[in-house]
């Protein structure tokens, strides 16, 4: 098993995080600001990049599980830093090291597909819906399509 520091280094290299100029455009474009009331520097893409660069232990950090893995931060970055790739790599490292209390498994296929805070957000938005609609959140999208096929084809 690779040491954690090597994994973080690998994520840094793959996402180009060392090119970050801390302009904050990714924070301005980030949909997390609309999603979480307590959105702040510690969970923002810029904060995560900074923590990675100064050598903090980001893999064990809960803040990497708030991201929706959208593309907007990468789209606006003047340096081409992909915050999504960084967070994805960090999450992969966390799952390989079994730090999974914030990751959600699919009920059907058992794979990790969603982060707990993101699931919490969707459930919060759909809270007026009946319980069986919310139950669909427990399966990953590809399994959901498969279930839909089996019921209706």
């Amino acid at each position: 098993m690779k040491p954690r520091r090597d994994r973080i280094e690998e994520a840094k290299k793959l996402s180009g995080a060392s090119g970050c100029v801390e302009c904050g455009r990714c924070v301005a474009a980030c949909p997390m600001a609309e999603m979480y009331a307590d959105f702040g520097i510690e969970m923002s893409p810029r904060g995560i990049i900074k923590k990675t660069l100064v050598g903090e232990d980001v893999v064990a950090d809960r803040n990497i599980w708030f991201c929706t893995e959208c593309n907007s931060g990468t789209d606006v970055c003047p340096q081409g830093v992909s915050c999504r790739d960084l967070i994805r790599k960090l999450r992969e490292a966390a799952i390989e090291e079994d730090v999974v209390e914030n990751a959600r498994r699919c009920e059907t296929c058992g794979r990790f597909f969603l982060a707990a805070p993101v699931e919490g957000f969707v459930q919060g938005r759909l809270k007026d819906e009946p319980a069986n609609v919310l139950k669909a959140l427990e399966t990953c999208p590809s399994c959901r399509r498969e279930i839909y096929l089996l019921r209706n084809a």
């Binding site: 993101v118 399509r145 019921r151």
Partner: protein, 450 residues
């Protein structure tokens, strides 16, 4: 990656202008050509036509993937099925194919879940993703029961059907005609017919008092209420053959067509339907009161009390009977009886047709007779659009169409002993999925011949 020149502010504005120009949708030749405006029909003034939808028939789908390919040419101008906003799933074990595509729900869940409010439902019923606001975060896919907004694995972008703005390519190119673009075929005339029959029946049984529903005689034809006859037999202790045979007419009608009496003929049901029109908001019953078996208990109680007391005790308070007897033109004002109908009509505030759902012993008798029914109502899985529509469950006056099953993507079974055969679901279904069938016919996958 190109670096933006930061020395000159004007240059940067040009860069932004260029970027925003690229975000605007590209016009193709077809858009520039003049379009034939849709022809207005005379009936549109009274009843606006419903929007068109893509219907998918899994029985005709061969899983060829032409729709994916043709869809990808529109989304990305390159033939790559992963970039399409329709996805054909094939189950090799069952030999079945199914197309996942956006159903353009009446109440879209993706719209609720989108963090940047990029999704909107237009007046034309099309649910669109506004590319300017969309961040490709995939929350719409998470919220959708069918996971219809698709994320392509190459560029991680979200693709969702927008019906090609009213002219879908996949429908044009489907070789098996599994996809159709249709306004649907709601019947709409059943409603007028039912109200007409109900009003006529009310006129005859209540206002003109040709007879009451309880006992009706015209020449040699005798008709009687089956529940009343049961009580009559119980109270007198003798089987009156003439009375029993006249009660049989309604039971035979029920065996042939289901409980049509409740939906189409019952004068009290007509009153309830009218009251229902003016009820602004429904309060609902507490769950412990909602027992559909209660009406069978009341039927048993009515028959039993007649046997004990020696006269038809229930019939004196029966709302159908009191309506026929006390509210006619020639009625003597029997003051106590007048209160029964308004009191029970007031139950409409809680649920539609509360009386018929939970209490009516006449309905219970007919419900027992309908165990021998010939007809059933099916909600066909192939045409039903499930969670995106749920109109049948909304219009059903006795609430027997299971909206929860529809939300999960299952075509619900209709319990026919409870169904009053008003045919509102058949009338309203935009896709021709709700139908009347013989009970031995099969119309949804996995359905038993029950």
């Amino acid at each position: 990656m190109d670096r933006i020149d930061r020395t000159d502010g004007i240059d940067r504005i040009d860069v932004y202008m260029e970027a925003s120009r690229q975000l605007e949708p590209q016009l193709n030749l077809e858009d520039l050509r003049p379009r034939q405006p849709e022809k207005k029909r005379f009936s549109d003034r009274f009843m606006p036509r419903r929007n068109r939808h893509i219907l998918f028939d899994p029985a005709k789908c061969t899983g060829c993937g032409t729709c994916e390919m043709i869809c990808s040419t529109r989304n990305a101008a390159v033939v790559a099925p992963v970039l399409a906003s329709i996805k054909v799933l094939t189950n090799e074990r069952l030999g079945k194919s199914f197309a996942i595509l956006c159903q353009h729900c009446r109440r879209p869940l993706c719209l609720e879940a989108c963090p940047t409010r990029a999704i909107e439902k237009g007046d034309d019923g099309i649910v669109r993703i506004n590319d300017l606001y969309c961040t490709d975060c995939g929350m719409c896919t998470m919220a959708c029961p069918e996971a219809a907004p698709l994320r392509d694995p190459a560029r991680q972008e979200i693709h969702k059907c927008d019906l090609c703005e009213g002219d879908p390519l996949c429908v044009k190119h489907c070789p098996g005609k599994a996809l159709t673009f249709t306004r649907g075929k709601a019947l709409r005339w059943i409603k007028a017919a039912r109200w007409g029959v109900q009003a006529l029946s009310f006129l005859f049984l209540v206002i003109l008092v040709v007879g009451t529903f309880c006992y009706f005689r015209a020449g040699t034809v005798e008709l009687a209420c089956p529940t009343g006859t049961l009580q009559n037999i119980a109270s007198s202790g003798t089987l009156i053959l003439v009375g029993a045979s006249s009660a049989l007419a309604l039971l035979i009608l029920t065996v042939l067509f289901g409980r049509v009496f409740c939906g189409w003929l019952c004068p009290f049901g007509f009153v309830l339907d009218l009251v229902d029109k003016i009820v602004p908001k429904r309060l609902g019953w507490p769950a412990f009161l909602k027992s559909r078996m209660a009406k069978y208990g009341i039927l048993g109680g009515a028959v039993g009390s007649s046997a004990v007391l020696g006269y038809q005790a229930f019939c004196t308070v029966c709302p159908i009977g009191t309506l026929c007897r006390s509210y006619g033109v020639q009625s003597v004002m029997q003051s106590a009886e007048l209160a029964i109908v308004p009191a029970l009509a007031a139950t409409e505030i809680a649920e539609r047709r509360s009386w018929c759902r939970y209490l009516c012993p006449v309905g219970a008798t007919l419900g027992i007779a309908s165990l021998l029914r010939l007809l059933k109502i099916v909600i066909g899985a192939r045409k039903c659009k499930k969670f995106s529509c749920i109109q049948c469950a909304e219009v059903c006056p006795v609430g027997i169409i299971n909206a929860d099953e529809l939300r999960e993507g299952i075509s619900p079974k209709v319990p026919m002993t409870e169904c009053i055969m008003c045919l509102r679901c058949v009338d309203r279904c935009p896709y021709g999925a709700a139908k009347v069938r013989f009970r031995w016919q099969k119309s949804t996958p996995g359905e038993a011949n029950a």
